[in-house]
């Protein structure tokens, strides 16, 4: 790979085996991303286990209608973080996953420390209002969730009658509640990330947000058990632990998350660099041990069996899940004759999968190959934070010919795109006046394109290159940008791309054929999400923490053996 300097410190063979950005940063491949052991949820639970965090529900003040507040204190070695959960009795006509909703079944804040009664009261006036309320720097995360009415009512009914819910019904949905936003980093008055970025437990990407989600998962079970007790009194039983563990937290994610990957190039690079380095380290191993081979085969079996629980009515994704099952069949067949005993056996296997499997299959195999190699790769989970400001400032001492050469090298895909063709600029991203909802417009049919968000990086680079052709090559960039400040954004992105190999998506996000869910899936896979269930080309539901230990059992369970659930023979086909 050309950008060896980026992965400095790595063995030359590792650098050689890193997949180039031209391959990795295509939307089709990003849209086939799977969680890996570097994913944020997994890194969080490994830390919680390693450091012996204690979680205790210290407040439960919820009435017969299910309205009230609960507090969950998560105590780490240095600090305590508390989830404050406000439960609501929401009329069905108000239940909407869209950002334009104004009420939810539950709303949450992650408090930095232990809240006083005064904090809980203050936040009770604000957290349930979400975007319309205000938080303070003592709060790190703001979130809300709606019930899966079908499953929530079914489970509450079963438990109230003293019986356990049917596993098949649980698996059809996979969660009792789904979050529709998890806000952090200074939004609505929350603490700026910089306030806690230096803390070891909170400095990694989305650590506090996903810690909150793990605690929300515990709340979703507590509230359903509470409603069962209200209904059934002494007949009610708690949810069986094995069944409970199958439940994750749902999440409904729309367009709002897609621009994030474009507006955080240094961070995207850090995530991709870590994952690609992990894969290359495994591929560069000269031999495979019997233990890692066994581990790999076990996880493959579990991943294969787990596909039964990846349900989606979406035609495209449903077909892809079928193809993935076919890919796993092929891989197992291949492994009947391939003992992984030759030189660089993981690299051989990767090459085989690249030649024989779909993108879903290739990315899944990459994740499975990384899986048995925690000791080799887990340090990379600590390398996934990046401050955008570090690569932000422009080096104006570069000449225009140098900038042009750099742009040609890093944005070849954009230079090869004809942006004068209507289909290539069919879309525009904008922020709607209504509750500031990010939307995608049709440029040639709708008004508002003059206010488009600057996400079409390729198009901007090409526009800058056209202007550069009119200039003297030895002019300094600073002088050019003083006269043409409209190209500052493009110039900055060229310089970032030169420093950060995986900073840019190598596809046109304005094109008629672009699928926003590809960007959503990539980001959510880094979070550690699974069971992607697209609801359209711009909206996806997922499950988080399904099969992971709950706070009250992580001390006695494996913290990181849940990404591919144990095979359950009783589980329905």
């Amino acid at each position: 790979m050309a950008d060896a300097k980026i992965a400095s410190g790595e063995d030359a063979r590792v650098i050689e085996l890193m997949r180039p950005p031209e391959e990795v940063m295509r939307l089709a491949r990003m849209g086939a991303s799977h969680q890996t052991r570097l994913s944020f949820m997994r890194a969080i639970l490994r830390r919680v286990k390693r450091e012996g965090w204690q979680v205790e529900r210290t407040v439960w003040d919820v009435d017969e209608k299910g309205v009230g507040v609960g507090v969950y204190e998560a105590r780490g070695p240095e600090r305590t973080y508390s989830l404050i959960a406000y439960a609501n009795d929401l009329p069905p006509d108000k239940r909407s996953d869209r950002v334009i909703a104004t009420e939810w079944d539950a709303s949450f804040a992650l408090y930095d420390g232990v809240p006083t009664r005064a904090d809980i009261d203050r936040l009770s006036d604000n957290v349930p209002k979400q975007e319309a309320g205000r938080c303070a720097a003592t709060e790190l995360v703001l979130s809300r969730a709606n019930r899966s009415v079908r499953l929530f009512d079914y489970v509450a009914d079963c438990l109230s009658q003293g019986r356990q819910p049917d596993v098949a019904e649980i698996d059809k949905v996979g969660y009792l509640m789904r979050t529709t936003a998890v806000y952090g980093n200074g939004k609505f008055g929350l603490a700026d990330r910089d306030l806690y970025a230096a803390r070891e437990e909170a400095g990694g990407p989305f650590r506090v947000e996903l810690l909150a989600v793990w605690l929300i998962r515990a709340f979703t079970v507590d509230i359903v058990e509470h409603m069962a007790r209200v209904k059934g009194g002494d007949n009610a039983v708690p949810l069986d632990r094995e069944i409970r563990r199958r439940l994750g937290v749902g999440n409904s994610t729309g367009l709002g998350m897609a621009p994030f990957l474009v507006t955080h190039p240094a961070l995207l690079n850090a995530w991709m660099m870590a994952r690609e380095t992990a894969l290359a380290r495994v591929r560069a191993l000269p031999a495979a041990t019997a233990g890692t081979i066994r581990h790999f085969r076990e996880q493959l079996d579990r991943a294969h069996a787990g596909l039964k629980r990846w349900r989606t009515p979406d035609e495209r994704q449903s077909l892809r899940v079928c193809e993935l099952a076919g890919d796993f069949d092929k891989l197992k067949q291949h492994l009947e004759s391939e003992e992984l005993t030759g030189p660089e056996p993981w690299n051989e296997l990767y090459q085989w999968s690249a030649a024989n499997l779909t993108l879903e299959g290739q990315e899944a195999v990459g994740s499975l190959m990384i899986e048995p190699h925690g000791a080799l790769v887990d340090d990379l989970a600590g390398e996934m934070a990046a401050e955008e400001s570090v690569s932000y400032w422009i080096d104006g001492q570069m000449t225009l010919s140098e900038v042009g050469e750099m742009a040609k090298e890093k944005f070849g895909w954009a230079m090869a795109t004809d942006f004068s063709v209507a289909d290539q600029t069919a879309r525009f991203w904008y922020v709607s006046e209504e509750k500031l909802e990010p939307r995608l417009g049709e440029r040639h049919e709708e008004d508002g394109a003059e206010l488009e968000q600057r996400l079409g990086i390729g198009c901007e680079i090409v526009a800058m290159m056209q202007e550069l052709e009119q200039q003297h090559g030895n002019t300094l960039l600073a002088e050019f940008l003083l006269r043409h400040p409209e190209h500052r954004h493009a110039a900055r992105r060229v310089q970032i791309a030169a420093r950060c190999a995986y900073a840019e998506i190598h596809d046109n996000v304005l094109s008629a054929s672009m699928m926003p869910i590809d960007m959503l899936r990539c980001k959510l896979a880094f979070f550690g999400a699974s069971r992607f269930d697209p609801k359209s080309d711009r909206w996806v539901r997922i499950t988080m923490y399904a099969d992971a230990p709950f706070p009250d059992e992580i001390a006695v369970m494996e913290a990181d053996d849940w990404a591919w659930p144990l095979i359950d023979e009783a589980q329905p086909a």
């Binding site: 700026d192 409904s252 080096d395 006046e433 600073a478 003083l482 400040p485 954004h489 359209s536």
Partner: protein, 212 residues
């Protein structure tokens, strides 16, 4: 209004964009405002003063045309964000410079201190010595009128005299006067596209029931 620095940066970026600054420059206006507010210096107020007097004015009319000498002048008063970006880009043979006629000169500070270890900026109403984290401010840093002469002088050392530090950077919420926040919001509002029924229906998740 108590806001996070991230909110201050976001508002400043959108306001600058709404007032006609190109996107890349508007982003730098946002960074500059949050850097000043982090030192509890009136960045938001300075940006508002700038945008009110230069609303939709083309950059061409606010950029220095004579640089490379020790005096920078423009066709009209200079925009401190555009001029500041030129400074942080490393533009101009001589960084020590006298700028004639500058709007809201406080906004030059975040850019100038990227160019050198520490810097002194003086104009008729104020004098500021600053490095990357601390500053010593004398006089009134907020200018509602054009500053006639602004002198920028690089200083050799990172360290400021500890007894002469009046402002230090620290992350955390800042209090921006409601009327300033509201006025910036008016500029920011121009960057939002009004909703139509058609666009609403095309939004993520539209038209599907969530009671499932």
């Amino acid at each position: 209004m108590i806001v996070s620095l991230n909110e201050a940066a976001g508002m400043a970026t959108k306001a600058a964009w709404g007032a006609g600054r190109p996107w890349g420059l508007a982003q730098e206006a946002g960074k500059a405002v949050s850097a000043l507010e982090a030192m509890r210096l009136p960045g938001a107020q300075s940006l508002l003063n700038l945008l009110v007097t230069t609303d939709r004015l083309p950059c061409e009319r606010m950029r220095p045309v004579a640089t490379g000498k020790r005096i920078w002048v423009g066709k009209g008063p200079l925009c401190p964000v555009l001029t500041g970006a030129y400074i942080s880009d490393g533009g101009g043979e001589e960084f020590a410079a006298r700028l004639d006629d500058v709007y809201a000169p406080l906004l030059l500070l975040p850019f100038a201190r990227l160019r050198c270890a520490s810097v002194q900026i003086t104009w008729d109403a104020a004098s500021i010595v600053a490095n990357r984290t601390d500053a010593f401010v004398e006089g009134n840093a907020v200018s509602k009128t054009v500053a006639k002469t602004v002198q920028i002088t690089p200083l050799p050392s990172f360290t400021l005299d500890a007894s002469k530090i009046s402002h230090s950077s620290h992350w955390g919420p800042v209090d921006i006067a409601d009327e300033i926040w509201e006025a910036l919001s008016v500029f920011a509002h121009r960057t939002y596209v009004p909703a139509t029924e058609a666009s609403r229906l095309k939004g993520a998740g539209a038209g599907l029931t969530d009671n499932d």
